[in-house]
Symmetry: D2
């Protein structure tokens, strides 16, 4: 189901989201409780092992999380997150982060984000807990 | 106990750590299993709520984690991390991240990182699991 | 796809799993990387708030995790777990825990477990990291 | 600093805590935001590998967490927890769980719990997020 509201919320967030823009993150798909974003790993994102810095992978997942948990139009912020890393990302890799709501209560929600590379191999799994600023 | 080796490992890592340099992160103290880093929140680090992006706070904590878990001179990478956010960080805030080893086995270690602001209020708590590339 | 091996591994584990038996846990479905278990909340499982103790919910999820990550016939143990609680479980509630593999590498795997009650409301979400005792 | 209130709250909780009593958990020390509990591993707590079930270790840590986050006299429940396992516990091992508050806000708190065995080796590290039922 296409969600025009989810897309509209995402466009408004993106317009003022300097970080997402600076990282070259693109929004590919939006729906209620869902966000799909892409980012290409650049040489500036590499650490001393010549693999993408965990902070950059976290930022991609965290951004997908933010767009998904704000997709219903009620402002929400991250209360906490966890991430597990499985496979390094290299310069030139095109990463896709898909965020899905797993549970959304009146005030608290949990969202799962999966980052895969261009070969559909899992790079990282992220779980975020969101807290709505006002309860519905 | 002062650890010259921990400092030397940290200096070598920092020299090739573009991310830490780009974020303006400074190393304040190093010891075996310990790292203390600072970062000042700049306007470019803000999200749409005008507070420091979670990805930037994660990157500061993750960097302190990396320096602490590599302080013994055996290369280690992050296997997974969790972070809890308590208080927003604002533009101009000077943040200090202190990393301490909680457990270091032959191959796996757990490190706790606390981020405080210039008023010593806790901004975030981070826990990282490290995996040594070769077992000792 | 029905997996006879997954069922056979589960039956062998259950025969020597005093805890699962003591909690009244039943195995409902098994497949490669999948396990579905049920448990009914008894008065002995209640804490002072008259709701099911978190440790009992954890044990149910952890058991589903163990059966799923051992379903392929390679012995694996839990390296770490996280659980988020959403809704209390009360005496008489019939809980169902469904475990799915999210990622299984040569040595490390991540499994997601969802506990729902008899009204299909989410009680808790659990994520477990498994470590195989011998790499394949 | 001795805290008579923390002890009194703990005694009242313990009187109606069937689970803690059934596990043979003893309270060794209490203070504001602190709880120290012990438990001896019995044969009934073993899994098929003849090591203490993760659910039992979780229950010990979770109980220490509950006593610490309720020590100030304001009812609080667990919102979520994570646990990392380092070393198996065997039958006869005497485990000590020490819970310390890491952050306590108006409504949300984070507590760290360490489980060690009789040789002072770390068995598991647990981190719990508590949610107060009424904000102060």
């Amino acid at each position: 189901m296409m969600s025009n509201d989810a897309w509209q919320n995402a466009r408004e967030m993106y317009a003022r989201d300097n970080c997402a823009q600076a990282l070259g993150i693109d929004i590919i798909d939006m729906d209620d409780g869902v966000a799909v974003l892409t980012m290409t790993v650049t040489p500036l994102m590499l650490n001393g092992h010549q693999t993408c810095h965990g902070g950059q992978l976290f930022s991609l997942a965290d951004t997908a999380f933010a767009y998904a948990c704000n997709s219903q139009g009620l402002p929400a912020v991250a209360a906490g997150c966890s991430i597990d890393f499985f496979r390094p990302a290299l310069a030139g890799d095109k990463l896709t982060a898909t965020a899905h709501v797993r549970h959304q209560g009146r005030q608290t929600g949990v969202y799962d984000i999966e980052i895969i590379n261009q070969q559909a191999n899992v790079v990282a799994l992220f779980r975020g807990r969101a807290h709505r600023l006002q309860a519905r």
